[in-house]
C-alpha cells in the first residue's frame, strides 16, 4: 500500500516522500511523538558530513506512540494504543538485540516515525492502557533506555548499593534517578549536576549537589553517567574519583568525541564500566508494567514536558525542532496531525 513519509532531506529541510508498505504485520497511525537529542543532531546537521550523506533522506523520530489501524494477525484491535519499538532485529544474536549489528534502528539506520502510517512487525509494538498519560507515553522509549541500563547494572553489580550517584541534570538523568529510586527505595540516590534550576526538579532524589560543590568525604558505591558530549569527560572523572572499589560505572551519555578515562584509578579500584544504548522489547514491556503499577510516576515524568507542538505541516515540524533546540531542559512532544 502507498504510504507518505516525511523525511529530513538535508539539515533543516523536510520533504514529503512516497513509500510502499506491505499489509503484513501491524500498521500504526502515529499520534504522539517526542524529539530526542539524536534527532536534533541530524536536524541541525551536527553529525559528521559523511554520516549525513549516507543516512539522509530519512524520517526522524524514534520515540512515539500510535493507534493500531490494521493487524494482519489479529493480535491487536483497530484503535489499540501502542508504543512503538524502534530497534528492529533482522536475526538472532548472542548479545542483547539492542546491541546486535544485525539490528536496525528507526531514525538512525532507516525511517523513523514521521509518516502517515508505520508498518511494524507484531513484536515491535506493545499495547498501553487507554488511561496512560499520552504526552509522557510519547517518550516511553527514553524511559526504556534507563530501564535496560539499570537491569544490566543489576546483573553485574557485586558490591553494596547503599549510595548510587547519577551525573547529569537533563532528561535522562531525571528519568534514571526516578527509576533508581523506584527500584532501590532503600538506597541513597545522589544527583550531581550543573544547573540548579534543573536540579530543583529532582525532588525524589535523596541528595543533590552541584558538580563543583561536592563534600570532600562523599563517596558512592556505583555511578550513572547521563551527561554526554564533551562534558562526559569531567563527569566520568568525578565518578572514578568518588566511587568505592569494585563499583560499576554505567555510561549513558552520547558523545561525538572520544572521552579520555583515568584508567590508572579504574585499575586500582577494580571498577567495571558498562555502556548503555537503546533498548529492546522486554524493556518496553517492563516500563509499561511499571507505569501501570505505579501511576504516580506519571506525575514526576510530566515535569519533563516543556513543549507540546501540534504538527499539521512540515513547517510546524521545523518550528518544533527549532523550539526544542533552544529549550534548555525537558522534552518536546509532537501531537502528530500530519
Amino acid at each position: 500500500m502507498i504510504n507518505i513519509v516525511y523525511r529530513l532531506k538535508a539539515p533543516k529541510f523536510f520533504e514529503e516522500s512516497i513509500d510502499e508498505i506491505e499489509l503484513e504485520g501491524v500498521v500504526v497511525r502515529p499520534t504522539y511523538l517526542s524529539i530526542c537529542q539524536a534527532d536534533q543532531r541530524y536536524y541541525q546537521g551536527s553529525r559528521p558530513a559523511e554520516i549525513l550523506d549516507r543516512k539522509l533522506p530519512m524520517a526522524l523520530i524514534h520515540e512515539g506512540i500510535g493507534e493500531v489501524v490494521f493487524d494482519s494477525q489479529g493480535n491487536f484491535k483497530s484503535g489499540d494504543k501502542v508504543v512503538m519499538i524502534p530497534n528492529t532485529p533482522t536475526d538472532d544474536d548472542v548479545c542483547r538485540l539492542n546491541y546486535s549489528y544485525k539490528s536496525k534502528f528507526r531514525g538512525s539506520g532507516f525511517d523513523g516515525f514521521t509518516s502517515d502510517l508505520i508498518k511494524l512487525e507484531s513484536d515491535r509494538v506493545v499495547k498501553i492502557p487507554d488511561d496512560f498519560n499520552l504526552h509522557v507515553s510519547a517518550f516511553i522509549e527514553l524511559i526504556t533506555v534507563a530501564y535496560q541500563g539499570i537491569s544490566k547494572f543489576e546483573e553485574i553489580c557485586t558490591t553494596p548499593k547503599d549510595s548510587l550517584g547519577v551525573w547529569g541534570d537533563g532528561n535522562l538523568g531525571f528519568i534514571t534517578t526516578l527509576l533508581l529510586k523506584e527500584k532501590y527505595p532503600q538506597s541513597k540516590i545522589i544527583v550531581f549536576g550543573k544547573h540548579q534550576n534543573n536540579l530543583d526538579l529532582f525532588s525524589f532524589a535523596d541528595e543533590i549537589y552541584r558538580i563543583h560543590d561536592v563534600p570532600d568525604d562523599l563517596v558512592i558505591d556505583h555511578g550513572f553517567e547521563c551527561v554526554g558530549s564533551s562534558a562526559s569527560q569531567s563527569a566520568v572523572d568525578q565518578i572514578i574519583n568518588l566511587i568505592n572499589p569494585q563499583g560499576t560505572i554505567n555510561l549513558f551519555g552520547v558523545s561525538e568525541y572520544p572521552i579520555p578515562i583515568n584508567t590508572r584509578l579504574v585499575l586500582e579500584k577494580g571498577l567495571t564500566i558498562q555502556g548503555n544504548s537503546r533498548s529492546e522489547r522486554e524493556d518496553f514491556v517492563g516500563v509499561v508494567d511499571m507505569l501501570f503499577e505505579n501511576p504516580r510516576l506519571f506525575d514526576y515524568l510530566e515535569k519533563l514536558i516543556t513543549n507540546v507542538c501540534e504538527i499539521n505541516s512540515l513547517n510546524d515540524l521545523k518550528e518544533a525542532f527549532d523550539i526544542d533546540y533552544i529549550s534548555k531542559f525537558g522534552k518536546t512532544i509532537l501531537k502528530w496531525n500530519k
Binding site: M1, I2, E16, S17, E20, V69, D116, N312, N337
Partner: protein, 236 residues
C-alpha cells in the same frame, strides 16, 4: 454507518494514447484503483466501500479486488453514472436500498485516480463530515490564479491567500446531500459538476480539510509517469 464511494466512472478522455481508463493503468506493481481502494480497506471506521465504474469494467474491477486485496466483504462494485453527480447519486441509491439512510450516515467520495490520499486525510474527512455535515479536501493555491472570461485577456487577479485547490475526498452527511441534490432545478444540475458546489449554492457551510501536495490526481499521461517515477525512486 460510514460509507466510502470510490468514483471510477470516468473513461479518461484527457489521458490520451490508451483505451484503458486511467484508474486501471499500472502504478508500480498494481493498478491505480487498487492502491486507492487499499487506503479505505485498512480504515476500520469505514463500514462499506462502494466502487463505481463504467458498466463494462465491473467484472474487471471485481477481479482486481480479488487478486490484490482478497476476499473483502466490505467492498462492492456497481455501475457509475454519466456525470460525477449521477455517480454519487448511484452510490446513495445503493446505500438507501441496501442499508437505509439514517441521520448520521456519512459518505466519503473520492477520486479513484488519487491513490496517494493519506489515512490522516480520510480520518479528518470522517470527523469533519460528522461534525459539520460537509467537507472538502484542499491545499492552499500556490500558483497565482488569473480570471479570464474571453480567454484572451485577464479580467481579474484574485488575492491568492483566499484561494485553495480542491482535491478529494469530499465527504457529506448523506441525508443532507441527498435532499440538496433532489432540490436542484434541471438548470442547476447541469452546471453543478462538484458536490461541494451544491452545498455552497444552497448556502450550506462546507468545512475545509487540509489536503497534501502529494495527493495528486492522475489525469494526464505525465501524471502517471511522474507517479511511477516517484515510486521507483523510492525503491532505489
Amino acid at each position: 454507518m460510514i460509507f466510502a464511494a470510490i468514483l471510477a466512472g470516468g473513461i479518461g478522455s484527457r489521458m490520451g494514447g490508451t483505451d484503458t481508463p486511467k484508474q486501471f493503468l499500472p502504478l508500480g506493481d498494481r493498478p491505480v484503483i487498487v492502491h486507492t481502494i487499499e487506503k479505505f480497506v485498512i480504515n476500520n471506521n469505514i463500514d462499506r466501500i462502494i466502487v463505481l465504474t463504467p458498466q463494462n469494467f465491473i467484472t474487471h474491477t471485481n477481479h482486481l479486488i480479488e487478486e490484490y486485496i482478497g476476499d473483502s466483504q466490505k467492498i462492492v462494485v456497481i455501475e457509475g453514472g454519466k456525470t460525477r453527480n449521477d455517480t454519487i447519486m448511484n452510490s446513495i441509491s445503493y446505500i438507501d436500498e441496501n442499508f437505509g439512510i439514517d441521520d448520521d450516515s456519512i459518505i466519503i467520495t473520492h477520486d479513484s485516480v488519487r491513490p496517494f490520499v493519506t489515512y490522516r486525510i480520510i480520518e479528518d474527512n470522517i470527523e469533519a463530515a460528522k461534525r459539520y455535515g460537509a467537507c472538502d479536501t484542499v491545499v492552499p493555491a500556490t500558483d497565482t490564479i488569473v480570471e479570464s472570461i474571453n480567454g484572451t485577456t485577464i479580467e481579474s487577479i484574485p488575492v491568492r491567500d483566499y484561494y485553495y485547490q480542491g482535491q478529494t475526498p469530499q465527504s457529506f452527511n448523506i441525508k443532507k446531500l441527498f435532499n440538496l441534490i433532489n432540490s436542484l432545478t434541471q438548470e442547476e444540475s447541469e452546471i453543478l459538476t462538484d458536490a461541494c458546489k451544491i452545498f455552497t449554492l444552497k448556502d450550506e457551510d462546507v468545512y475545509l480539510v487540509d489536503g497534501e501536495v502529494t495527493n495528486i490526481k492522475i489525469t494526464y499521461p505525465y501524471d502517471l509517469k511522474l507517479a511511477n517515477t516517484i515510486l521507483e525512486d523510492n525503491h532505489d
